[in-house]
């Protein structure tokens, strides 16, 4: 540039410093509340935009013999229909393994599967036209039961096993043995913004994609592959998602691919936004699981051996299911030491949409089986379940090896649980609840404390990398880009705080930009709670490079040591003098110092050998615990969650308000998963719960009247994570297992805490009702069958 901009001072922000450790508001908060934040469907539409809709399969299994799309094509406003024949490149868009055709390729694997797409001048015309196809389908009997699938050996990936010690021998030698099955339901993501993508053809046969995806680089690659173009000819821009929760990790790609294929065919920009019912039919959910345990333990309730089997209902293709079932296996111990363990994980095929990532990624489903076991042991030995849980926690030095040989190096959880036990008044309330239940015939109370230990890192090692790109401009403003994506979690805010901290500037100097595949390439998905850990470190590296360059420049100019240069509060100090950040940027520019830098990060220490199922798959563990109290109506099975206390470990928090937001939101989402959110398919494999009218996520009235959430203090991450913080995206979801456990506690009170009731999830009022019935009947049948004189000791 020929002349420099006038150096205008940046207004000091109200809260200074606005760097890490402070509860800065979400970078888009003002735009959110005023409706100015733009999502894909809000972007000003390009001239000639066509709107796309998808034609669906009316059966769950069969062969697609023929499609007559003439009526579709002749519907008013229709510009083009797209079938597999129009795909110039790859047909399969499976993210890891093949199995996900962009449109059904002969075989139909689930009800609602996309068969063709149509582009029209309006969304209404496209949707109406898509209903007019004449389909010739040879339907076959769908396979819908994952346990039956295992019997028939129909799986999407081979079975996998982890073993440490001889579990069978340990159980055989144990004084007490229990065995049970736990069905864990799936979950619809219900991100408020449905799937959406817009493809705009650009020159050189290139394509610009706007989408709502956690993984822009994968969208870029898959769009390139279906178009048979180099990856470099596709650019993906992703500013923000209106919620994702894992549902836009792989499942966002198909709509970008279809929009790009239609744009390629028509030469027009094409937008594909799924209506809610289509979204719920066509995108994967949290895997339902059927889990089983056989455990041996001593009369104190200490585990001696565990043989655990988890069966993930993967739906019709592998998608991410191998890693998801692995993570269920990695978390089948949760926080407890298994002296001898065999953990088996099956990947069942069913004729449903392919189930996919969802906050926790199999971990929650795995944890459910061992938490089930803890409650069951407690009833068996006549102890308070909390005491059984505490007895079985990992503990150094000899009770801290996981079934996959990683050591649990920190003793955070015992301390955290003790603190929470006191702050929540657990023992006093336990006694009060026993009294209440003795006096109350219709309403019963339940209480439970459950912990969470969640492994942080992608278990697929190469994904644990990230890049960032920072530019300083000559007016002192800073543009920040990184490979992560913003889905509401506040990633951009936290990463900006990191950069502000390094360069010691106010946050309002830093312009956060959309994720762009042409700025930071080859990125990993924003998933596995790793967004800040990875991208924060990459941005730290880029900002440190720039700081170093500026320091060296200033040191050389003034004949000082680089160590004598200090950045503080928007100024840079050298010797007795100082200069404001903008002036320094201008001087550096004039002296031809590069003001742009990339940063890169890869997580250290992690390794894992799947063939031996051993290693250190996780950089560290995130911890937390929750105490939930419920009130149950034994006449109807209706219940309320009346109080929840949470203590959670986020290491040294980068932003306490955002972290608490993740904890509260994750907890309530987990509570919905385990209580009211019920996915129902009919016997033909058709999803019945295709909207919020039948699929019930929590409302404001469902949250506990008392909801205390605190961060564990003075607990910096021992590992060298970004400012020694800890990941927080997924772990809090599993705190909600305490609600389910408290429901079981309330029901168990009907047997004077002798019977540990089966309660599959979601624990709808109906399931709670039947659990009450069965418990009452079993207790009436044999109240004295177990020689235990007392229930849990207060």
């Amino acid at each position: 540039m020929r002349s420099l901009p006038a150096s205008k001072p940046y207004s000091q922000s109200q809260v200074s410093p606005t760097t890490h450790g402070h509860s800065v508001a979400h970078e888009s908060a003002v735009k959110h509340v005023s409706g100015e934040a733009l999502y894909v469907d809000d972007i000003r539409e390009p001239k000639g935009l066509l709107h796309a809709a998808v034609g669906r399969s009316p059966v769950a299994a069969g062969r697609l013999r023929a499609m007559d799309l003439s009526a579709v094509l002749s519907h008013p406003g229709v510009a083009a229909v797209l079938t597999l024949d129009d795909v110039p490149g790859h047909i399969d868009i499976g993210p890891v393994f093949p199995g996900d055709p962009v449109l059904a390729a002969g075989t139909i694997n689930y009800h609602g599967q996309p068969l063709f797409a149509v582009a029209a001048d309006s969304l209404l015309n496209a949707r109406r036209a898509a209903l007019l196809a004449v389909l010739e389908i040879e339907a076959s009997e769908p396979l819908l039961d994952p346990q039956q699938a295992i019997v028939e050996n129909r799986t999407v990936r081979p079975v996998h096993q982890m073993q440490r010690g001889d579990a069978s021998a340990a159980i055989a030698a144990a004084p007490l043995v229990l065995e049970s099955q736990q069905i864990v339901g799936g979950q619809e993501h219900y991100y408020l913004e449905g799937q959406a993508a817009m493809a705009t053809p650009t020159e050189d046969n290139s394509m610009l994609i706007h989408c709502s995806s956690q993984h822009p680089s994968e969208v870029q690659k898959l769009v390139a592959e279906v178009l048979d173009r180099p990856i470099a000819s596709v650019t993906v821009e992703m500013r923000r998602m209106g919620g994702a929760f894992g549902g836009k990790e792989t499942n966002a790609a198909q709509w970008s691919c279809l929009a790009a294929l239609l744009a390629h065919k028509t030469g027009c920009p094409v937008k594909l936004r799924l209506p809610r019912a289509d979204d719920m039919m066509m995108t994967g959910k949290r895997h339902p699981f059927a889990n089983h345990y056989r455990i041996g333990f001593d009369p104190q309730g200490q585990l001696l051996g565990a043989d655990i089997t988890v069966i993930g209902d993967c739906g019709c293709s592998p998608d991410l299911s191998d890693a998801i079932v692995d993570r269920a296996m990695f978390h089948a111990d949760n926080a407890y030491y298994l002296p001898a363990a065999k953990i088996t994980g099956h990947r069942a095929f069913t004729n449903t949409v392919s189930h996919t990532a969802f906050r926790g990624f199999g971990g929650p489903q795995g944890m459910m089986i061992i938490e089930r076991a803890m409650d069951d042991i407690a009833r068996e030995v006549g102890k308070d379940p909390l005491d059984v849980r505490k007895l079985n926690l990992y503990a150094a030095p000899d009770r801290n090896t996981t079934p996959y040989q990683q050591k649990v190096e920190s003793d955070t959880l015992p301390r955290l649980i003790t603190e929470l036990e006191h702050s929540s008044d657990y023992r006093v309330r336990r006694a009060a609840i026993r009294q209440f239940n003795a006096d109350s015939s219709v309403l019963k109370k339940g209480l439970a404390l459950t912990p969470v230990k969640f492994g942080i890192s992608f278990t697929v090692q190469h994904l644990n990398q990230a890049g960032a790109l920072i530019h300083i401009y000559t007016d002192g403003s800073i543009q920040l880009n990184h490979g992560g994506t913003e889905m509401g979690q506040g990633l951009n805010t936290k990463v900006a705080q990191v950069v502000a901290e390094v360069l010691q500037v106010d946050l309002n100097r830093i312009q956060i930009t959309a994720t762009h595949t042409d700025k930071v390439p080859n990125t990993s998905p924003t998933a596995a709670s790793s967004g800040t850990d990875l991208n924060g470190q990459a941005a730290l590296a880029a900002a440190t490079t720039l700081k170093q360059r500026l320091s060296e420049f200033l040191a050389e100019k003034h004949g000082l040591a680089v160590a004598a240069i200090r950045f503080h509060n928007n100024r840079v100090y050298f010797g007795a003098d100082s200069i404001n950040f903008t002036e320094l940027a201008q001087q550096a520019y004039m002296a031809r110092v590069s003001l742009s830098a990339t940063g890169f990060y890869r997580t250290p220490k992690i390794h894992y050998d799947r063939s031996t199922a051993s290693g250190r798959p996780f950089f560290y563990f995130a911890n937390g615990a929750a105490v939930s109290e419920v009130l149950v109506d034994t006449l109807t099975g209706e219940y309320r969650v009346s109080r929840v206390d949470i203590l959670h470990d986020v290491g040294r928090s980068l932003n306490p308000a955002l972290d608490i937001g993740q904890i509260e939101g994750g907890f309530i989402q987990g509570m919905g998963w385990l209580t009211t959110e019920e996915l129902r398919w009919d016997n033909a494999g058709k999803l019945l719960t295709t909207g919020a009218a039948t699929y019930k996520i929590p409302t404001a009235a469902d949250i506990p009247a008392i909801f205390n959430v605190a961060l564990l203090q003075d607990q910096a991450n021992e590992e060298a994570t970004i400012y020694h913080s800890k990941a927080v995206g997924e772990p809090p979801l599993m705190l909600a297992i305490s609600v389910w456990s408290a429901l079981r506690d309330a029901i168990s009170s009907l047997s004077d805490y002798r019977i540990s009731p089966a309660l599959d999830t979601p624990a709808t009022p109906e399931r709670v009702f039947w659990a009450i019935r069965h418990t009452e009947q079993a207790y009436t049948a044999k109240p004295a069958a177990q020689p235990l004189s007392e229930g849990p000791q207060p």
């Binding site: 508001a25 979400h26 888009s28 908060a29 003002v30 959110h32 509340v33 005023s34 409706g35 934040a37 999502y39 469907d41 949707r127 109406r128 209903l131 219900y190 991100y191 408020l192 913004e193 923000r240 209106g242 919620g243 929760f245 006093v428 309330r429 006694a431 209440f436 219709v442 309403l443 109370k445 509401g488 979690q489 506040g490 009130l631 109807t636 009346s642 109080r643 608490i660 937001g661 509260e664 939101g665 989402q669 129902r680 719960t689 919020a692 009218a693 039948t694 019930k696 929590p698 409302t699 404001a700 009235a701 949250i703 506990p704 009247a705 008392i706 009022p765 109906e766 039947w770 019935r773």
Partner: protein, 496 residues
């Protein structure tokens, strides 16, 4: 032609498809994208708008779902979306010109992904106005009610509840209170007698008198009546149906009656649940509690009791109650008026005895006399905004602890809302005790053969229906500690 105020600007539309929703109009015709589509079915609240109506002295705002509100029904009203809330002050920065509700949402970290946020802000805006006007108490219950139709998947709601409280803390007016008289005058100027929006895309007619309505219905046998559009709206957005002629009942003066006359309550055919609620609460607290859980606030603000009845859905929540209360329906057409007992109204699955040229003018609900008791229960997976698995309404008269008269009706147990005649017989002329209840439970199995569906199994429906009789009996005998909701909300176990 229809006219309304878009924020503070008069807006006129000459012709439009009758099924055009407010949401589609905003987003596609005006390019105003602050209003979000989350479900297009009135379930999620992301598209919540505030609709302003002329009250006696000022403008009353209510929250509604833009996705299923017909654009033409805005005639004579004011439409506010979240984009209209910021104060138009020259000197203000981006943060400073926020509405108190918006500022509190930022301050309390009430948004994460931000997609539901415009709808949340609009619901809280309407709540904030009602509180400022003294129409509502600012307690947790009223905030939860205000948010009953707004789903947030990120925050867990806690910061949003805090934001509501904080938004009230500042003792300030917003632009709408400050300029109320000016806006009032502007809105008055938008009022017209009967309006219509007609053209090749179809017709939307807004008659203002019953005579006019009857004539239109007689002349147009294929016309569809539309009141709150909370059900019919879904046929447009979900089933993609079109409609050539919609007749809107909301402007018909005779259908707006809502009052108590001697021994009955009269609820007009176009009276929304929200408007009927205060009167119902006085006369039938148990009924009102259930209506308070019917749909969401957005749905109750638009939907009508008459619509719930005319729909004849087997899972409509109000018909069982009205059957138990022996309500009567006043029907009107060009060929005259007639009165039908609600128990005679439903003739089959989604079938009624109402002719296509008739409309419900009023629902007449006899009030309770001494010795008469009404108990209403709704069982659903979720407390707020969920369709009942079972809905039970029990009306009875006791003399000397003997049931001398009884009407027991259920929703969710049969193809129509229906009375449990054999169960009634099992209880009649007996004390309401465990013995008679046990017999009643047996009779229920003969009265009904419910089905398994998404909401519940047949076995659960039958078992719970019986237990609800037990619950009614426990409540009537003033047993302590049996009210799940009040006990849970009063807090968890404290120190012993």
């Amino acid at each position: 032609m229809i006219r309304f105020l878009l924020h503070d600007n008069p807006h006129q539309i000459d012709e439009i498809a009758p099924t055009m929703s407010v949401l589609d109009y905003l987003r596609t015709s005006l390019g105003q994208t602050d209003c979000k589509e989350g479900c297009a079915a009135g379930d999620c609240g992301a598209c919540t708008i505030a609709i302003g109506s002329l009250g006696e002295t000022g403008i009353h705002y209510h929250a509604a779902n833009a996705c299923i509100t017909p654009l033409a029904s805005l005639d004579g009203r004011q439409l506010l979306t979240v984009a209209h809330l910021r104060e138009q002050r020259q000197d203000a920065t981006a943060e400073q010109d926020l509405h108190p509700v918006q500022a509190a949402m930022v301050n309390c970290h009430g948004s994460q992904c931000g997609f539901c946020t415009p709808g949340i802000v609009m619901s809280l805006f309407c709540w904030w106005h009602a509180v400022k006007r003294g129409e509502l108490t600012a307690d947790r219950h009223s905030i939860e009610t205000a948010l009953s139709g707004n789903l947030c998947r990120c925050t867990g709601y806690q910061p949003i509840l805090k934001a509501a409280v904080q938004a009230l803390a500042a003792d300030e007016e917003d632009q709408f209170l400050a300029r109320e008289s000016q806006l009032f005058t502007q809105l008055q100027a938008q009022q017209a007698n009967s309006s219509s929006c007609q053209g090749p895309l179809g017709h939307f007619l807004l008659p203002t008198s019953l005579g006019e309505l009857n004539t239109l219905m007689a002349d147009n046998p294929n016309a569809q009546l539309i009141a709150g559009a909370t059900d019919l709206g879904l046929s447009f957005t979900q089933q993609l149906q079109s409609a050539e002629l919609l007749i809107y009942t909301g402007r018909v003066a005779e259908l707006q009656r809502c009052e108590q006359c001697e021994d009955a309550i009269h609820v007009g055919g176009a009276v929304t649940y929200s408007r009927a609620l205060p009167l119902l609460r006085q006369a039938f607290p148990s009924f009102a509690n259930m209506i308070g859980r019917l749909g969401s606030l957005q749905i109750r603000n638009q939907g009508t009791l008459a619509g719930n009845i005319a729909n004849a859905s087997p899972i409509g929540d109000s018909p069982p109650v009205l059957i138990a209360l022996n309500a009567r329906l006043q029907l009107s057409s060009c060929s005259g008026n007639r009165e039908v007992a609600i128990s005679d109204f439903f003739s089959g699955y989604r079938q009624t005895v109402m002719r296509s040229d008739e409309c419900i003018v009023s629902i007449v609900i006899p009030t309770l006399k001494n010795g008469e008791i009404l108990k209403v229960y709704k069982i659903s997976k979720r407390v707020e905004d969920d369709i009942s698995a079972v809905c039970m309404a029990l009306w009875l008269r006791c003399d000397n602890a003997i049931i001398t008269e009884i009407r027991l009706a259920f929703g969710g147990m049969a193809a129509t809302p229906a009375r449990a005649m054999l169960t009634e017989q099992a209880l009649l002329n007996r004390p309401f005790d465990d013995l008679s209840i046990n017999d009643a439970k047996q009779a229920l199995m003969l009265d009904f053969s419910p089905i398994d569906d998404v909401r519940a199994s047949a076995a659960y429906r039958l078992a719970v229906a019986g237990n609800l009789l037990k619950r009614a009996q426990l409540e009537m005998s003033n047993t302590a500690n049996i009210d799940l909701f009040s006990l849970a909300d009063s807090g968890a176990s404290h120190h012993a």
